[in-house]
């Protein structure tokens, strides 16, 4: 204990555990890229790289808000169903008014409102987030099916479609949206006191509350943000596939959770980051892209995803334990 000055001087420049985790992951991404370049002629082509980035962007946008929820030791299982309802409502509004802007406002607003409702269920009614958002998922799916009545809405104005399938300087639009929200997410989580409070809530909600953190309000905020990001993702999907159906959000929730976990955010809360989620989304997208390029049958994809999740969480647990 008495030799502390020396240790302090050295470890001030030692990278933090989180930085090390991000570094390992970037290394894994790099190795994967090298391997795929060696194995496939198609992988390292502009087209394929842009394709990977576009898919990564969508996965990241869904998972970024979810990351904040998971940082508080919560879970949002309603992301996919939220996307479905938000997309369908936005599609109706665009069709009815012809205004992409009103559609965008509807999609994000609907997503945020659903997230807010989740937050109220979790805080005011004290329903565990897993159950609250699971119930919400079913209700939203029901509402969407009822609202759409089996119909498809398609054919949107070209300026709206730019959001999903347009390019700027040769790079797909969703990639710009991804970068923008990566910066916003990083800033919010790392450079505001709300971000600090969210980490504290995830690490120990009791201690956070007894330290004067308005735990309930922050939780509502976090669920609302997760919902709003789902709404944003729904718009990009809508703009890309140019049609909306009641089942549009199916099979989107679990990949989003996978991206968060592979990105190093702990389900127990308090550790992880939005940037990590981007790496997680990129890694998972690369793996699936590589399997496609190598013509491995797609039925192997869920198995591989499962193995990656378990490996990532297992490695994180080991590094955390050795650090403590």
């Amino acid at each position: 204990m008495s030799s502390t000055p020396n240790i302090a001087a050295r470890s001030r420049f030692a990278p933090s555990r989180d930085a090390m985790q991000a570094l390992y992951r970037l290394l894994a991404v790099a190795l994967l890229c090298i391997a795929l370049t060696a194995l496939s002629d198609v992988f390292f082509t502009t087209n394929n790289i842009l394709n990977v980035l576009r898919q990564t962007a969508l996965l990241f946008l869904m998972a970024s808000g979810l990351t904040l929820v998971i940082l508080t030791a919560g879970l949002d299982l309603s992301v996919g169903a939220n996307i479905a309802l938000s997309a369908c409502l936005a599609a109706s509004v665009i069709k009815a008014t012809g205004s992409p802007l009103l559609g965008i406002a509807t999609g994000i607003g609907c997503g945020a409102a659903i997230g807010f409702a989740n937050g109220i269920l979790v805080t005011a009614l004290r329903i565990p987030s897993f159950i609250a958002t699971y119930g919400m998922m079913w209700m939203l799916t029901g509402i969407t099916y009822y609202y759409m009545a089996g119909d498809t809405i398609h054919g949107f104005p070209p300026e709206f479609r730019q959001l999903g399938s347009g390019y700027l300087l040769g790079v797909p639009m969703p990639v710009y949206v991804m970068v923008l929200f990566l910066l916003i997410g990083w800033f919010f989580a790392q450079r505001t006191i709300w971000g600090q409070q969210i980490y504290a809530i995830g690490a120990n909600p009791v201690a956070a509350r007894l330290s004067g953190v308005p735990v309930e309000r922050r939780l509502v905020l976090v669920y609302a943000v997760s919902g709003a990001m789902a709404g944003l993702a729904s718009l990009i999907i809508l703009a890309r596939i140019n049609s909306a159906q009641g089942d549009i959000g199916e099979e989107l929730t679990l990949p989003a959770i996978a991206a968060v976990l592979v990105g190093g955010t702990s389900l127990f809360g308090g550790s992880g980051s939005v940037a990590g989620t981007l790496i997680g989304a990129l890694f998972l997208t690369l793996v699936l892209n590589g399997m496609n390029l190598l013509q491995i049958h797609s039925s192997w994809q869920p198995l591989v995803t499962g193995v990656i999740i378990l490996l990532a969480v297992w490695i994180d647990n080991r590094t955390r334990r050795s650090d403590a």
Binding site: S11, R191, I193, Q196, Q197, A200, A207, G212, A324
Partner: protein
């Protein structure tokens, strides 16, 4: 040892009660890291006897009973059953000798009925494999319930029963397992007077049928009403075994407290108390306290003591806004204060909670993250978090409190208990708190760190802060506090100051007479 007619050693007591004890523990010692919980304790139990076990919080009563029932393994010592040496390595061994413990928290299943609970894990098999002979279970249960004079339908689901009735079921369960030695840990703590009477009647009946009863209690009234023998533990040692007829309540208190009754001591001089910092009037709450009145002035350290479970921590949490209140008013620096920790913190209140690991710290986060948590708004008024400023603020606190950590970025979990406690305190210094509630601030930390924390308390009040301190260690209250309130059963039983503030007085006020 104390004077008077106190019978001070077992041989005397043993001579009065003839025969070999049913069960005997000899020279039991048990240490936990940093604490000697039991030191050479001998204890015996006889058929048809109620043996009272008394002592202050932390005297070793519960540890001794856990050794008896096999939950803990003694470091040294021996056991004798009917005079024959035996071993107790696990709960199963203890059960073989008919030892059963009725804990304060019951081990019953709410959605099973009474009979099913009594026979849980020992179900009588029915004719078909995997089925239970429900009829026999219920008739057997009825028989046991009759034995203790508890007239109730064994088909009733447990969650429909009150606490007292559940306790009866717990006792019936023990007896159905042929318990001959029944240990009860403060069985009347949650009972009304009428229920207590019924429990006592049952205990007398059990006693007449030859069951031996070990009864842990803080209530002097029942100790004398019910006990055939009283054993006093203090600081892990057996102090005396006495007969109720030859002892007075005052003598028993002296035995429990141990030290000479008027302890004189010196401590740093205190400033003249200033303005009222905290004023609580007629405070009542659903967590089990009512009609609490207390004041704390700037420059004062005021103790809040009483037994564990007397409502001290609940009152502290209510003052801080962490628990709901049903009546009364709390004023901080003259202004009424609402019911949220958020507001309390903003207004300069600090709570150093009872359990720093579960309530005080985000263990996996860094020292710096923890130190700045309560003062985020003050440190970053714009809402923008600047890591460099956070580290700088944390370093200032680390230096001021001499927290031993290589860097502010180290996870709090890696620090020692004393340093963790300093981080909790540092959090409030960084938030510029002016009124501090310390709930058991020295629990689980070593002597050196304790002294530092006391010095810090002195500094705080010299700078004009006000402190409300909860402690189970009467000696701490006597040494540190200017005044103290003693709680008993959710009420303030009395206020002590000056020469009246002694350990004996605290114990006397805190115990049901």
């Amino acid at each position: 040892m104390a004077s008077g007619s106190v019978v001070s050693e077992a041989p005397n007591g043993a001579a009065r009660i003839a025969g070999v004890p049913l069960f005997e523990l000899r020279g039991i010692s048990k240490a936990f890291p940093g604490v000697k919980a039991l030191d050479d304790v001998s204890f015996d139990i006889r058929s048809g006897e109620v043996h009272m076990l008394v002592g202050e919080n932390g005297a070793g009563k519960s540890t001794l009973m856990k050794v008896l029932c096999g939950a803990y393994r003694a470091d040294s010592g021996s056991f004798f059953y009917n005079g024959e040496p035996v071993t107790i390595d696990d709960p199963a061994a203890a059960r073989q000798f008919g030892i059963a413990v009725i804990f304060q928290e019951f081990t019953l299943v709410p959605y099973l009925d009474i009979a099913q609970n009594i026979f849980l894990g020992r179900e009588i098999p029915g004719r078909l494999p995997g089925f239970i002979d429900q009829r026999r279970i219920h008739s057997e249960a009825k028989r046991v319930l009759d034995l203790i004079g508890f007239d109730i339908d064994p088909h009733l689901p447990l969650h429909r029963l009150g606490v007292a009735q559940q306790q009866m079921v717990e006792i019936a369960k023990a007896l159905s397992q042929d318990a001959r030695i029944l240990v009860m840990d403060e069985p009347t703590a949650a009972l009304s007077d009428r229920e207590t009477e019924r429990l006592f009647a049952m205990i007398k009946r059990l006693k007449d049928s030859g069951v031996a009863i070990v009864y842990i209690s803080h209530r002097l009234g029942e100790v004398f009403a019910l006990g055939d023998r009283i054993t006093v533990l203090r600081d892990g040692r057996k102090i005396a075994s006495v007969l109720p007829a030859e002892t007075t309540p005052d003598q028993l208190v002296t035995l429990m407290v141990g030290r000479p009754v008027d302890t004189t001591y010196t401590r740093a001089s205190r400033p003249v108390p200033g303005k009222v910092a905290l004023e609580v009037t007629n405070l009542s709450g659903p967590s089990g306290f009512s009609d609490i009145n207390l004041t704390v002035r700037a420059g004062e350290i005021v103790g809040l003591c009483g037994l564990v479970g007397s409502g001290r921590s609940e009152v502290a949490r209510a003052i801080f806004g962490a628990d709901r209140i049903t009546a009364g008013e709390i004023r901080l620096f003259g202004e009424p204060i609402g019911a949220s920790p958020e507001e309390s913190v903003r207004r300069g209140m600090a709570l150093i909670p009872e359990n720093r690991k579960t309530q005080g710290l985000a263990l996996n986060r860094s020292v710096s993250d923890n130190i700045i948590l309560a003062g985020l708004r003050k440190l970053f008024p714009s809402g923008l978090y600047v890591p460099r400023r956070a580290i700088k603020a944390a370093r200032a606190i680390i230096d001021k409190l001499r927290i031993a950590t290589p860097t502010p970025r180290r996870a709090v979990a890696t620090l020692s208990g004393g340093n963790q406690q300093k981080v909790v305190i540092g959090k409030w210094l960084n938030a510029d708190a002016r009124f501090f509630i310390f709930d058991e601030p020295t629990r689980g930390i070593d002597v050196g760190a304790k002294a530092e924390i006391f010095r810090l308390l002195d500094h705080l009040v010299h700078d004009g802060a006000a402190v409300l301190m909860i402690s189970s260690e009467q000696i701490e209250i006597v040494h540190i506090c200017d005044r103290a309130y003693v709680m008993r059963g959710g009420h303030i039983a009395g206020e002590l100051a000056h020469h009246e503030l002694t350990e004996a007085n605290i114990v006397r006020l805190g115990i049901h007479q």
